[in-house]
Structures are given as C-alpha cells and as structure tokens.
C-alpha cells in the first residue's frame, strides 16, 4: 500500500523474490548455454541458434510457472507469497522473451539487405496451417507481454481502474496460447524427438490441470455453503461457530458475487461482511486475515476497516460493505451491497449467546 508512486517499492520479501527469480533465470541460461551442450558427444546446433532456444524456452517456462501460481495459491495458501510479487516475474519474462527476439533478429534476420523488422513481417507469406509464419504469433505474444509489463505499475492500475487493468492483464492467457502455437508451428515442426512435444504437453497439462482443479474445488466449496432460508434480500449465510476469529470466510451469494465474512475483536465478539474483491487487484479478501485490526488481503496486504470497508488513513482504497444481523446461531447477510466505504454496524455477539 502506498499513498504515492515510486518506480519500485522494495522490501525484504521483494528482494528475496527477485533474487530467487534472477537465480532461476541465470542458472537456466548458464546451464543451457554453457554446460548442457557439454553433456553431448558432439555439438549439434550453432551457438546463435542455441541462444535463441535458451531465451525462448526460458520465457516459455517462466510463463508456465506464472500461470500456475494463481491456481496453486487457490489450492494452498502457502503459495501466496509467490503471487505477491508476480508482477516482477512477468516483467522479467518480458525481458527474457525480448532477448529471444534479439537473438533471432541478430542471426536469422541479419545479413540481409532487408530491414530486420520488415523481413520479420514479409519474408514468410505462407498462411497454410503448417507453413504459417509462427514468428507473427510470437510477436503478438511479445506485444502482450510488453503491454502487461509497461502497465504493471500501480499507477496504471489506478489510472485504468482495477476492473479494466485486470481485464488487460487477463490477456496473459491469450499470450500463453499464442506462445504454445508459436512453438507448435515452429520448433515442433523442426524437431522430431519426443522431448519437445513432451515439454509443451507438460506445460499445457500443468496450466490447464491446475486451473480446472482450483475451479472445481472452489465450485464445490460454494455449493456446500449453508443457505438455509431466504428472507427477502437476506440470506442465512454461515453458522457463527464455524467462523474462526480473525480469519476470513468467503460466502457465495445467489447472484454469484462473493462476500468476505470476518469475526474479529479482542474476544472475537464482532462480525462484519465486506465485498470479497480487493480494490487493488481483485484479490480474495475472504481468504485474508485481520491484521492490526484491519481486514488484510492475502495477495498484497491491502487493508480495510471491517466496519467501513475503508483503508486506514492516509490510504484511500475502499470496498463495498454488506449489512449483517444475527439469527440465532447464524449470520444473516443482506445480499444488496452497500456503496464502497459505507459504515455498517457489526453483529455484536455480546448481545447474546453465539
């Protein structure tokens, strides 16, 4: 959280994150370029071509990992720290992918009277499926990576608004699809061994499998929620004794929205409900926790007062709140969201037995 903009807001965890990221990329490239060729009896490929493949495969692997982090964190919250600084992961991926383009343009596109950029676009005009200029797909994917890297800063998040920013950054899935096709219509047409299709297949399996699993688990959890009876716009949402003090409890409403219910206070005597969607990057507040008296998003630590949905001063973020009341052992929630930042009285368990 910040009240101003800086190029990069470093902290110890981000430094560790970026250090590990640099180590990953560095080791991958060194192994690929320096040591792995030595494992062979004879070199089978030129050095420039090896650099193309090193940067390209590294970017593909990084993109695969980036896409796996989200569902992994949904399935096991211990992966959330990987999501915390994922933007740096994405920016680094853009730079590695750019290095791939640089390696290609410095070799396959070089030594020609044609300008390399013109050559990239016009040299191959065969638009049959197998002959398709796969380079165009790679360029489109790189353009998406650039767009996401260039707008990754929180300035753009606020400037574009979180919903638009989120939609823009969902293009990462299109980017991944383009990269898969770039590889399928390029490298997989040239290399006949099983290693390459196996790698691409494992990547697809990991990305698709984790997303389907996480979606399935969440859908199952939503279906199991207790909505015993309805009273106008109010629903009987959750048993009070099932709420863990200081931890969020996501509730799916009949209209498809999610609400984050929190039991908090010195003795866990209060219950409030907020929108489940963090104002920062739409993180799941219902999987967050009360820290320093505030609802804290598990993704980037943005905080909100549970009774008002407002970030503590001097921060200005706010999320919608929901009216709550008690019905015996249950928390009742009014499904009509109040405007973001609207103060709402909590349920006070001191008024009666929980």
């Amino acid at each position: 959280m910040s009240v101003g903009y800086r190029p990069v807001l470093w902290n110890a965890n981000k430094l560790w994150y970026d250090g590990a990221l640099g180590l990953f990329v560095g080791l991958y490239l060194i192994l690929f370029l320096r040591y792995a060729p030595g494992l062979l009896e004879s070199p089978v490929i030129g050095g420039a071509e090896l650099r193309m493949r090193a940067f390209g495969s590294c970017a593909f692997l990084m993109l695969t990992i980036i896409l796996c982090i989200g569902p992994l964190a949904r399935l096991d919250t211990r992966f959330l720290p990987l999501l915390y600084n994922r933007r740096h992961f994405g920016v680094m991926t853009f730079f590695v992918a750019t290095a791939h383009l640089w390696a290609v343009s410095g070799w396959y596109l070089a030594f020609s009277p044609l300008d390399p950029w013109v050559a990239l676009l016009v040299s191959n005009t065969d638009i049959s499926f197998l002959g398709f200029p796969f380079e165009w797909l790679g360029m489109a994917a790189l353009a998406i990576l650039f767009t996401m890297a260039a707008t990754s800063h929180d300035f753009w998040l606020h400037f574009l608004s979180p919903p638009i920013w989120k939609r823009l950054h969902m293009l990462v899935y299109l980017c991944y699809g383009l990269v898969v096709m770039h590889v399928a219509l390029g490298l997989l047409q040239s290399e006949t061994g099983t290693a390459y299709p196996l790698m691409v297949g494992l990547s697809l399996l990991a990305v698709a499998g984790l997303h389907l699993t996480a979606g399935s688990v969440e859908a199952k959890r939503d279906r199991q929620q207790v909505v015993v009876t309805a009273d106008g716009d109010w629903i009987k949402a959750v048993r009070i004794d099932s709420l863990t003090p200081d931890h969020g409890h996501p509730v799916a409403l009949p209209n498809g929205e999610r609400v984050a219910v929190f039991r908090y206070g010195e003795t866990g005597e209060k219950i409030s409900a907020l929108s489940n969607v963090c104002a920062h990057q739409n993180g799941p507040l219902g999987e967050g926790k009360i820290v320093f008296g505030c609802v804290t998003c598990p993704w980037h630590g943005f905080q909100y007062d549970p009774e008002t949905g407002r970030s503590p001063p001097p921060f200005t973020e706010k999320v919608p709140t929901y009216r709550v009341r008690r019905d015996g052992d249950f928390v009742m929630i009014d499904t009509k969201a109040l405007p973001a930042g609207t103060p709402t009285p909590p349920i006070l368990l001191t008024d009666g037995p929980a």
Partner: protein, 253 residues
C-alpha cells in the same frame, strides 16, 4: 485453521512459510535444470557443416554458369571423374547473379570462404574481386563445362532449402524454424536446392530450376522448409543434379 501462516508482503516472513518457500524455490530451480538439459539433449543433430574460416581465402578455377543459379564447374580430375560443382553465394544473404552473368561460360577464378558439409562444398564469394577472369585458364583449357544428360521425368519428396545455410552458414539451416532465414537468403539470390533423402539415409542436394532451366525462387518461396513433393525433369551436369520443375506440380506432404 487459525494456526495457518499468513503472509503479508511488507511484514516479516513467517518461519514455517519460509521453509516451505525454500523447498518450492529448490523444486523450481531443479525443474529449470531438468528442462534446460532435456531441451538441449533432445535437439536433432543438424550436421557439422560450417564456414571453413581456418582454411582462409580459397581460390578455385573453373567455368561459371549463371543460370538457374550461379555455379562454378571444376573440370574432371583423377578423384572426380565427373568434375565438381560448387554453388556460389555473395556475402551475407545475397547472390552473385550479376557478376556471374557477366562471366557466363568463361574460365574464372573464384575466391572466398568455403562452406563445407560432408561432401558438399560451397563458396561465399568475396565481393566483385572474388569472381574474376581466370589469371591462368590452363586448368580448364579446352573444356566448356559438363555435358548435360537428361535422366527423365521423376517425382521426388524432399525439402526446399537455401543452399548456403544448408552448407552450414546456419545450424539448423533447414526446418520450419529456419524458414524465415531461408526465405531471406533465397530472396537475396542464394541458390535454391531440393534436399532428398535416399532409402539408405544419405542425402542428395538438387539444384532447382524452372522448366526452361532458369531460376524458380519466387514461385516456390511459400513451400520452403516443408515436406513437399515435386515432379519434373531431372538432368545431370557433371556431378550436379538439376531438377527442372513446373511449380504447379508441388504438393504438400
């Protein structure tokens, strides 16, 4: 539930979480190492062709022909009863059509850097000074180039390539990933060849031509670096096979 570690980026890292993340980072590093090794190990052997920089500038004396693509024919000798054929290219992704046409059918000295792949040789001509009238035409005196022998109409399966990268200017110098580079070479005037693989695994590189024996690059550019089938007349010129095809016979495989 209440004891699960909760991570807030700007606060300290819970110890239990740090241990877990250390394992995750280790797994990711190991995955990267395995992927890098498997990808490098899984590559095809793209041949041992390449520029023979160590041999320095080489000069060959023979008869130059400009069509369908610039070729230097060396006269027969004891080791080469049919003579030898050396395709010619310019520096980079260029051909030497203009200068070869000026010297068409004449004895010339060709100087440049040799590219060699197995038994195949090519010369990257060193500028205009690299293709000049033979200083001593004696080695080719009385010889005007190889006879042309017609071998009949054939249908062959193979891959269209730019001869320079095939000889090792790039490795891989064939296949889909190289198509863009190949097209640039061919547009620049590098001889177009058709690589076929015999049943015993050995390969033969045929020089392409249209039915009239002229260059055919533009008509076949879309089919470069793909498995295709072509039908045409095959003829032998010394140790060179020339494949004269009608572009309409091309079929993707």
């Amino acid at each position: 539930m209440s004891k699960r570690p909760f991570f807030v980026g700007y606060l300290g890292m819970p110890r239990a979480l740090a241990m877990f993340l250390a394992v995750v980072v280790g797994v990711l590093l190991g995955t990267g190492a395995v992927v890098a090794t498997v990808i490098v190990e899984g590559q095809r052997d793209w041949g041992d062709g390449g520029f023979q920089w160590g041999e320095g500038q080489q000069t060959r004396t023979g008869i130059v022909m400009a069509d369908p693509y610039p070729i230097l024919f060396l006269p027969p000798d004891a080791d080469h009863p049919f003579g030898r054929t050396i395709p010619l290219s310019g520096v980079g992704k260029t051909g030497v059509q203009k200068i070869a046409r000026e010297m068409q059918g004449k004895p010339v000295d060709v100087s440049g850097v040799v590219l060699r792949r197995d038994d195949f040789e090519m010369i990257q001509v060193s500028g205009n000074e690299g293709l000049v009238a033979a200083a001593d035409p004696a080695p080719v005196a009385g010889w005007t180039g190889p006879d042309i022998e017609t071998l009949g109409r054939v249908t062959l399966k193979g891959e269209l390539l730019d001869s320079k990268c095939f000889h090792g200017a790039m490795r891989p110098g064939q296949g889909k990933t190289h198509k863009l580079c190949a097209n640039l070479c061919l547009i620049g005037g590098v001889p177009l060849t058709f690589l076929i693989r015999r049943a015993d695994g050995s390969v033969e590189s045929l020089l392409m031509a249209d039915p009239a024996g002229m260059e055919i690059t533009g008509a076949l550019l879309d089919y470069v670096s793909q498995a295709i089938e072509l039908t045409g007349e095959l003829e032998r010129r010394g140790d060179l096979l020339v494949f004269k095809v009608d572009p309409g016979t091309v079929r993707r495989l």
